[in-house]
């Protein structure tokens, strides 16, 4: 084999060997993503550098999501967070034909009916963002600090049931994480087991 060919082959292989993609990790930079919302506007995580961001995985037909929406719990969380300057992104990864899939108009109608107040509702039908964050359940919550570091990932609270009565006695991990970020302190429960229905990937 000619030395030149060998060298260039080696160079190419070294170039190709990009580091294998790492799973989301608390304490590491949150994976960058772009997605389109129900109004056709594109959002990138980098747009919100300098702000705290909450990601909420959503499926309107999942009993665990309904637990938090029918009771008004999620809407209250969204309002309180956004009024504090937090960017709240609700993400729908249900593929077409799967449970929970929404067209932009259906999503708008649902948000209005439920009086939900996210900063934006993102449609992730091809599952790109879901896979980046390894979203397993609906709801599955992530909190990202203003520096872009992932500081919380997991369940919305510590009572993994579909019973709305459990909300008032549950410890809400998202509220706790947001309070810690605001106070500039490390988040105590930074990674918990998420609960809910499985995300309906394509």
């Amino acid at each position: 084999m000619k030395p030149k060919t060998l060298l260039s082959a080696l160079a190419v292989t070294i170039a190709i060997s990009a580091p294998a993609f790492a799973a989301p990790k608390v304490g590491a930079p949150a994976p960058a993503f772009t997605a389109t919302d129900i109004n056709g506007k594109t959002h990138a995580l980098s747009d919100y550098k300098g702000k705290t961001v909450v990601l909420e995985w959503h499926n309107p037909e999942c009993p665990f999501v309904k637990k938090h929406y029918d009771s008004g719990n999620m809407q209250a969380l969204q309002k309180s967070a956004t009024s504090d300057g937090v960017v709240w992104l609700t993400i729908n990864t249900s593929a077409e034909g799967k449970q929970g899939h929404l067209t932009p108009q259906a999503a708008k109608d649902l948000l209005a009916a439920q009086k939900a107040a996210p900063s934006a509702y993102l449609l992730d039908t091809d599952g790109k963002v879901g896979r980046l964050y390894e979203a397993k359940t609906t709801p599955h919550m992530f909190v990202i600090d203003p520096k872009g570091t992932l500081v919380y990932m997991g369940a919305i609270d510590d009572k993994p049931t579909a019973n709305p009565d459990d909300i008032k006695t549950a410890k809400n991990y998202v509220t706790a994480a947001l309070a810690s970020v605001k106070a500039g302190q490390p988040v105590a429960d930074s990674a918990t087991k998420p609960y809910g229905c499985s995300v309906k990937y394509n």
């Binding site: 990790k25 579909a162 998420p194």
Partner: protein, 726 residues
């Protein structure tokens, strides 16, 4: 009118519900509460069964439901003084979902058990009302529905005797539970890898699947494949770590499935972290299970591709340039191994002897390199294709099948015999009486290169572990690059000789000594054959190894005949035909032995029972009755070749000399029932003693009758057995 009637009917049904409160049918699940005993005895714990039957294609969940889902919970309403233990779950199955998640649960009916402890001061003649409020999640592949039900059961206070009507239900439920064991299990997490290790007395032969289901969440990734290895009396399992792997202790279910088993054996283990435990597997045979497919390594549509479906970085985090470099170096070093050294040195000497022209030398060197790279590429490609197809193979995959190992060993013997001069390879170019390594020209060099790779493969595995391990987690193109680097390293000395004239001049002048040298080189080849036959012996057993040696002997005879035909100038065809006939016949006779691990296991089991420490007779009801009638204390056990628990107990307890001694002293007769083929006669006997499967250990003391055995626990120890028969 119709509306009123249906409303009235609904009210009546609702009012009657407490009476119809067991079993309860919900939209997607039917649940029931059953007691093992017909009455409650004061102070005597009893077992309740919660039966759950989901609709077809729906499933419920294990204690740790996996990536999503929810465990089943029960809230009890019991009379004062009663306490209820935790829910005991049967061994779950893996339920991959949507290509991205894995859950643990039950796709059909499952029965959970609970122990209820009554107080000692129960008033006789009273009744015990038991209410269980169960809540669970039942899902199919489209949706999930949380359901709940209130189950009521009322039992009288009495003698707490077992209800024969429910015997089968509880036998099946217990058979589905993992066996609790107290093995010293250690685990560790390092760099994104989780490892579990425990002592393991059985060989790896026949193990098809090993899986670990943790109770605690966050320790491992549920979608990743799990690699297991049995070596030096230890079972080690590694997989990708989870998002919170810092626990100090763990608990969970380890399942091991042997070939032929209807379902895996399951053990409930607890373990402690050992920070010294390495997170990688040493080189050797790996059994890959789990992942997002149906239990095989490697599956489509997971994004990362190949068998490393979890997309993690290569185990050990060896970087690609380093892997390429060490592959190159490894290939270079291969030339010194007894497999390759003879071929390389003879080829090099043939260069010198023939007094090649500079151009001829370069051509031969390139042809040799071509042969090496092509063969290496083919082997590597085959390996990658097998892995992509879901086979659990590692680099030494061709060394996993004893028939392949035996074939390689025979090849080594043949080459050794050729080098020793027993017969010659003749080509039209070289004329008569050349050794195979000196066939001339570029064509000969190409085939020598190919042959070199083939005989080198057994020698690569031991010291190429890190680089070759890296290939398994890389995309196929990069894995292939590493194999080619290995080939290039192997061909380098010869390339150097071909291109660098001064090197050629360093080669010793040809002479008579070369003939002796060639014969001496036969011995490294025989040594390699010896090593390979040893591997066959370890893999399949002594008899298979001797069968292989017998084939080698006959092959040597055949090749000698060929050599004689060559010497005396007789027609070549006769010699080769005779050789082919001899090899064919003996190979045909020996092959079944070599291929069958079961045969070996069967033989071993036979010899263990017959000439091992415990003398046992085959079980039959007639034999049992005869022994019992004559007042002989009798130990009866039922086993199967595919039953891991059975084999572990045999290894750890039944085959111990002190146990055999104790049995002899107490005059205990032993009967063993083999349920390997799962025949109905033995199944009926197992059911008679309330069991649904193997193992089963029964001791009939002197004077006992057939229905009153002492039933021993699922896990035996020598002290337990000695104490039982004393």
């Amino acid at each position: 009118m119709l509306k009123t009637v249906s409303l009235a009917a609904a009210i009546v049904v609702a009012a009657l519900s407490p009476v119809l409160a067991n079993p309860v049918q919900r939209p997607h699940t039917t649940v029931g509460l059953v007691a093992e005993t017909a009455s409650v005895a004061p102070g005597k714990p009893l077992t309740l069964a919660l039966t759950m039957t989901p609709q077809e294609k729906w499933h419920t969940y294990w204690k740790n439901p996996g990536d999503s889902g929810m465990e089943t919970t029960v809230t009890w309403d019991l009379p004062p003084g009663f306490s209820a233990g935790d829910l005991e779950y049967p061994t779950p199955g893996r339920l991959p979902f949507g290509g991205e998640l894995v859950n643990f649960g039950y796709e059909g009916p499952s029965t959970l058990l609970v122990t209820l402890t009554p107080p000692a001061d129960l008033a006789p003649g009273s009744t015990v009302p038991i209410t269980a409020r169960a809540a669970w999640l039942v899902c199919d592949d489209q949706q999930c529905v949380p359901e709940d039900a209130e189950l009521k059961l009322t039992l009288p206070v009495g003698d707490g005797a077992i209800d024969p009507a429910n015997r089968d239900l509880f036998a099946r439920a217990r058979a589905a539970m993992p066996t609790p064991v107290d093995w010293p299990v250690r685990f560790n997490t390092l760099d994104d890898r989780f490892t579990l290790e425990m002592p393991w007395a059985l060989p790896e032969t026949g193990i098809e699947q090993v899986l670990f289901y943790p109770v605690e969440d966050g320790l491992i990734s549920y979608t990743a494949t799990q690699d297991a290895m049995v070596m030096n009396g230890t079972l080690r399992l590694t997989t990708k770590a989870g998002y919170k792997p810092d626990a100090a202790t763990l608990s969970g279910i380890l399942t091991v499935k042997l070939a032929g088993a209807p379902k895996p054996d399951a053990f409930f283990i607890t373990g402690e972290r050992d920070v010294e435990l390495p997170a990688l597997l040493p080189p050797g045979k790996v059994i890959t299970s789990g992942g997002l497919g149906d239990g095989h390594g490697g599956t489509a549509g997971t994004g990362a591709g190949g068998a490393g479906a979890d997309g993690s970085a290569a185990p050990g985090a060896i970087s690609l340039p380093l892997a390429l470099g060490s592959a190159l170096l490894g290939g270079l070093l291969l030339n010194l191994m007894p497999c390759v050294f003879p071929i390389l040195s003879l080829k090099a000497l043939s260069l010198a002897r023939a007094g090649e022209s500079a151009r001829g030398g370069r051509q031969e060197a390139l042809a040799y390199t071509g042969g090496v790279l092509l063969t290496m590429g083919l082997l590597g490609g085959l390996l990658l294709a097998l892995r992509a197809g879901g086979e659990a193979v590692g680099w030494a995959f061709h060394l996993q099948d004893p028939r392949m190992v035996a074939l390689l060993a025979l090849l080594m013997v043949a080459i050794g015999l050729n080098l020793a001069g027993v017969f010659e390879i003749t080509t039209r170019l070289a004329g008569a009486g050349q050794s195979l390594a000196s066939s001339g020209g570029a064509k000969g060099a190409f085939w020598t290169g190919a042959l070199a790779v083939l005989v080198a493969t057994p020698c690569t595995a031991p010291f190429m572990a890190a680089a070759l391990g890296a290939t398994l987690a890389l995309p196929p193109a990069l894995g292939m690059a590493i194999y080619l680097a290995l080939g290039l390293g192997m061909a380098l000395p010869f390339l150097a000789l071909g291109y660098v004239a001064p090197l050629r001049r360093l080669l010793p002048r040809p002479g008579a000594w070369m003939d002796t040298f060639r014969r001496v080189l036969a011995f490294p080849m025989f040594a390699t054959a010896l090593w390979l036959f040893w591997i066959v012996g370890r893999q399949v057993g002594l008899d298979a190894m001797v069968a292989g040696l017998a084939v080698a002997l006959l092959m040597a005879l055949a090749l000698w005949l060929v050599g004689r035909a060559q010497e005396t100038g007789r027609p070549m065809r006769l010699g080769w035909a005779l050789a082919a006939l001899l090899i064919g016949v003996t190979g045909g006779l020996a092959a079944p032995r070599l291929g069958s691990a079961d045969a070996a296991a069967g033989e071993n089991a036979g010899t263990r029972l017959a000439s091992g420490t415990l003398t046992a007779e085959p079980f039959s009801d007639a034999a049992l009755d005869t022994l019992l009638a004559s007042g002989t204390p009798t130990f009866v056990y039922f086993t199967a070749d595919w039953c891991v628990t059975c084999k572990l107990n045999e290894r750890a307890a039944l085959e111990r000399p002190q146990v055999a001694e104790a049995f002899r002293e107490a005059g205990v007769a032993v009967l063993v029932g083999d349920w390997t083929r799962r025949d109905d006669t033995i199944a009926a006997v197992l059911r008679r003693y309330g069991r649904d499967g193997v193992p089963l250990y029964l001791f009939f003391p002197k004077g006992a009758d057939r229905d009153q055995p002492q039933v021993l626990p699922q896990i035996l120890t020598p002290p337990l057995l000695i104490e039982t028969v004393a």
